[in-house]
């Protein structure tokens, strides 16, 4: 397993960094020519992933979060790395969308949205510690959808 290469946009883990990560996705996506609808989805997906790292991974402790977005053929690949404790997506309960309001839990939506709005979402341990989330959105460019 090789660590993804290339420049990453890096910030200290905090909820205040969310807007900066969204700006990075916007700017990079526009430079790459990503379809605007796809870009709106990716902005949310990265927000959800970084929020999870800050709240559940680091749990308020300091640490870096790194994001990189690049084009691979007609696809867009986004990688999000951290040095937080190991994350096992299998431990996150599904959001139970079919439950009546009174029975519906508040959590679990972030991971669900990540999976719904991408074609692939692979969580894996990063070499040297931490986690890496690799997201793929296929046919992400105008005219390829």
């Amino acid at each position: 397993m090789t660590r993804e290469q290339g420049p990453y946009f890096s910030q200290a883990a905090s909820l205040e960094s969310l807007s900066r990560f969204r700006d990075y996705i916007d700017q990079t996506g526009r430079q790459l020519g990503v379809d605007p609808g796809v870009l709106a989805d990716l902005r949310l997906v990265v927000d959800e992933a970084v929020t999870n790292v800050v709240q559940h991974g680091y749990q308020g402790r300091p640490g870096p979060v790194e994001v990189r977005m690049k084009r691979l053929g007609d696809d867009v690949v986004v990688c999000i790395r951290d040095q937080a404790r190991p994350f096992d997506p299998g431990q996150v309960p599904a959001p139970q969308l079919d439950k009546a309001l009174a029975d519906r839990p508040y959590g679990g939506m972030g991971l669900y949205l990540i999976r719904t709005m991408t074609d692939e979402a692979e969580f894996r341990p990063a070499p040297g510690g931490g986690n890496e989330l690799r997201l793929i959105r296929r046919s992400a460019f105008a005219g390829t959808g």
Binding site: L15, L18, S19, D47, Y106, M109, Y112, L113
Partner: protein, 100 residues
């Protein structure tokens, strides 16, 4: 940037980006409301799951008193997120008029 306020007609007006950084501020504001509430989302650019949680909590609390939260002027992208998350079955939602 995120802003939440009540207009002269009593509608809750939200604008900007409702993410996990601003969800607590929105929750504090909404916790003070009672009765039937209408939230105008015309100027809301963005909502994440943290914002969805705020809406769900508020709607649940208001419904327990026989009222509820109605979401109006909802743009296309946010409407899609409501559909993915099953909110279209839980809330009364009015889409924004189609633009341009």
């Amino acid at each position: 940037m995120f802003e939440i306020r009540q207009d002269e007609a009593g509608r809750v007006v939200v604008s900007g980006r409702l993410d996990a950084a601003h969800a607590p501020e929105a929750q504090v504001f909404l916790d003070d409301l009672a009765g039937h509430c209408v939230m105008d989302m015309g100027a809301l650019e963005y909502i994440s799951s943290a914002g969805l949680g705020v809406l769900l909590r508020t709607h649940k609390r208001l419904l327990a008193d026989g009222a509820g939260l109605k979401l109006v002027n909802v743009n296309h992208h946010i409407n899609d997120i409501f559909t993915y998350s099953g909110f279209d079955k839980l809330f009364e939602i009015e889409a924004a008029p189609a633009s341009g």
